[in-house]
Subunit: 429 residues, 2 copies
């Protein structure tokens, strides 16, 4: 890790910069697969599943028998862990359901706002080495609470045409309507256009590699909403002498093992903490099966020493971390003044991995500084808020003249006329 | 208007299709101006203001003297109308401010969600024939309520280098921090990169022509959030025999005068209503100063006759109108079952223009079917919801083992280790 002591504010922007990704230009490949799936449907999907996933499957839809097999196979202790996580996630997200808001904005003018579910949502879960069944929990549970009618899940099959049993178990446990064995660009294209098997959806959620990211961008151009812009995972820990260096090191490493392009930042207020944490990082790193990945990520990572509390929080707000761990005495100062962060973890017994799995908060969070303008996935992501207004005769008499004057001033005579006609009709009332 | 009677469901998708826009490829022009503004700052902006707005201005920032002049010049009755609108908009948006949500998801595991303002927001207001001061109300009022630190407004100057006084009056009245005389692509580029005068912002709001739309898309690629995808304005009216044909016609026309590419749909349950409404449309059209525009828009527009209530609401949800007016006896059925709409207007005395100006709801709404997945602008658009969690020693003892098991199953050993270290430290407690 690099050590940066008391950097002047002019340098902060450069320090906060995330490692630049060499984004290959995938546009042409994405456009081609989208065009083929649009025209050829499931046949085109089968072609690309054969090409990329090296398997040919007779049917895209996961069968009841496959789900039952997954349920039998999955160890009981994993099922119980999943059930505990599902319960905390459900509690926290249910509490977020927006209430109807109603205001009489002027006498006789009633306005209200009500949430409505997004009818059809798609969830993409990557395959590969780590079966991210926890992401199924994080996306499908709020979709169910929101009462989305159709919840579609796509995830790539392995070489034998199978899906990881933990993914199937979770999908079934939380009530996903349909699971399809399809991954990558062709999965996103399928949910964009719809095929014989896969329904077209209005919004696509979920993580993925650069192919999936490029495909989601294409889907967005074609009118399908997406959850948020993608980027490598990241963590910022603020530590002082009340923190436990071993715990801090374990949190830094748990972020670093996500990928070689992950980034961690450790903000400290005093110098001697740096060597203690570094020593722990080096020791723990040796034990990790994903040591090579974590080591590479640690090279991108930084200790930033800032002596003043106000400088610390200003720097953290400038960085806008996806995950922000506060391990310091004056934690209230930071919880009060943090403005830009995805999710915040407070105290020595709140590791970031708690939020990844089982505290109840969502782990789909804005990276790459997007915490300045985006929320993490929460109930709002599965809902639209629709406004309603109902104006009585006396209500339009109260605000009608203001509308006429403003419409006229904007040069919109027909807007004015819609009010004038109504006001005139009431003159004889 | 075209008349479509009892269309089968298979035809609905085609009927709901919006007129296809011939989108010129503006990418090259946008990229060039962005590059120049990034490097050249205000000098590049001045060059393009000269080129597109045919004026050279000495300073981009609107002065105190200009604002005072606008205040003196604006007619009192317009000021009072604006103040009434500001009061209803403020009331409705203040009521939407999200509250802190806190849940103990498991014993010792406290999770909460709090809203934080987006620190820096930019508002774009087009120039041209209609000075859209009402949009300043709709975007700046919620930004102020959200406590966004910096609210920047860009709007193009006229040939004499001036801004419409109503725009300046509203901006000052609602508390916009900074107003700049700059329009088009160069304005969006300025708010994306920041210049000597214009601050870089985290999110850009506001309507605009195809140049502004293309520029906002470029800004989004560069990491600046935008309010929503743009499209021509649209309205769907549901009318039965309890509706007033003259009122319905006036609403259809008030939408149609926005632009030749606007679209209106009138869903009716019985045939004889069609001719009554059409007659009113033709009569009122003659009186309109923007007749040519409205006439063109009406050519794209449709009467859709559907006899069954359920078919009506299903069709409307498939269309997903930006504005939806309900003028029928059974209005509760529609307010209850509408799932996809931007803003809903209920009854004979609730014209769509009320929502454009003064009912209190926001007029920045999803078009082109985006109401299936997007909300209109509301308080959420100016906020991020940040999650927090604090876990006690006993809390991590309660959920720690579930985290360990799940992290292990996902192959993320360092995630597990962050918990194991903490649990081990507590064994001797």
């Amino acid at each position: 890790m690099k050590i940066i002591k008391n950097p002047p504010r002019a340098d902060w922007k450069a320090i906060c910069k995330r490692p630049v990704l060499k984004a290959e230009n995938l546009q042409q490949l994405v456009n081609q697969i989208f065009e083929e799936v649009k025209v050829g449907g499931d046949k085109a999907i089968a072609k690309y599943t054969q090409l990329f996933d090296k398997t040919s499957i007779s049917t895209l839809a996961v069968s009841r028998a496959e789900i039952e097999k997954a349920e039998r196979e999955l160890p009981n202790e994993l099922k119980e862990a999943i059930q505990l996580a599902a319960s905390t996630i459900t509690k926290f997200h249910k509490a977020q359901m927006p209430q109807k808001i109603e205001v009489e904005t002027a006498p006789g003018v009633i306005c209200w706002q009500e949430a409505r579910p997004i009818d059809k949502v798609g969830i993409y879960i990557p395959g590969g080495t780590a079966p991210l069944f926890s992401t199924v929990l994080m996306l499908a549970i709020p979709a169910k609470i929101a009462k989305c009618n159709e919840i579609v899940l796509c995830t790539p099959p392995d070489k034998n045409g199978n899906i990881n049993p933990a993914i199937l178990y979770v999908a079934n446990y939380v009530g996903v309507s349909k699971v399809y064995k399809v991954g990558g660009i062709q999965a996103i294209a399928g949910m964009t256009f719809g095929t014989e098997y896969i329904p077209a959806v209005y919004k696509i959620f979920g993580p993925g590699n650069q192919y999936v990211t490029a495909a989601k961008q294409r889907a967005a151009q074609l009118g399908v909403a997406i959850d948020m812009p993608a980027g490598p995972s990241e963590l910022l820990v603020l530590a002082d002498k009340t923190s436990n260096p071993a715990f801090v090191a374990s949190d830094l490493l748990s972020q670093a093992e996500h990928g070689a392009d992950s980034q961690v930042i450790c903000v400290v207020k005093s110098e001697n903490l740096i060597s203690e944490i570094e020593e722990e990082v080096n020791g723990q790193l040796e034990q990790l099966p994903r040591k090579a990945i974590a080591e590479k990520a640690m090279e991108n990572s930084k200790f930033v020493m800032l002596e003043e509390e106000q400088d610390c929080i200003d720097f953290i707000n400038e960085y806008a971390p996806e995950h922000f761990i506060i391990c310091c005495k004056n934690e209230e100062f930071y919880t009060k003044n943090i403005r830009n962060a995805g999710s915040v973890f407070i105290g020595n017994y709140t590791p970031e991995s708690a939020g990844d799995y089982a505290s109840g908060t969502n782990h789909t969070l804005p990276t790459n500084g997007y915490a300045k303008s985006f929320s993490g996935v929460n109930m709002d992501a599965f809902l639209k808020k629709v406004t309603f207004q109902k104006i009585s005769k006396s209500g339009i008499q109260n605000i009608g003249s203001a509308i006429e004057i403003m419409a006229e001033a904007e040069g919109l005579q027909a807007h004015k006329n819609a009010v004038t006609l109504r006001l005139n009709s009431l003159k004889n009332d």
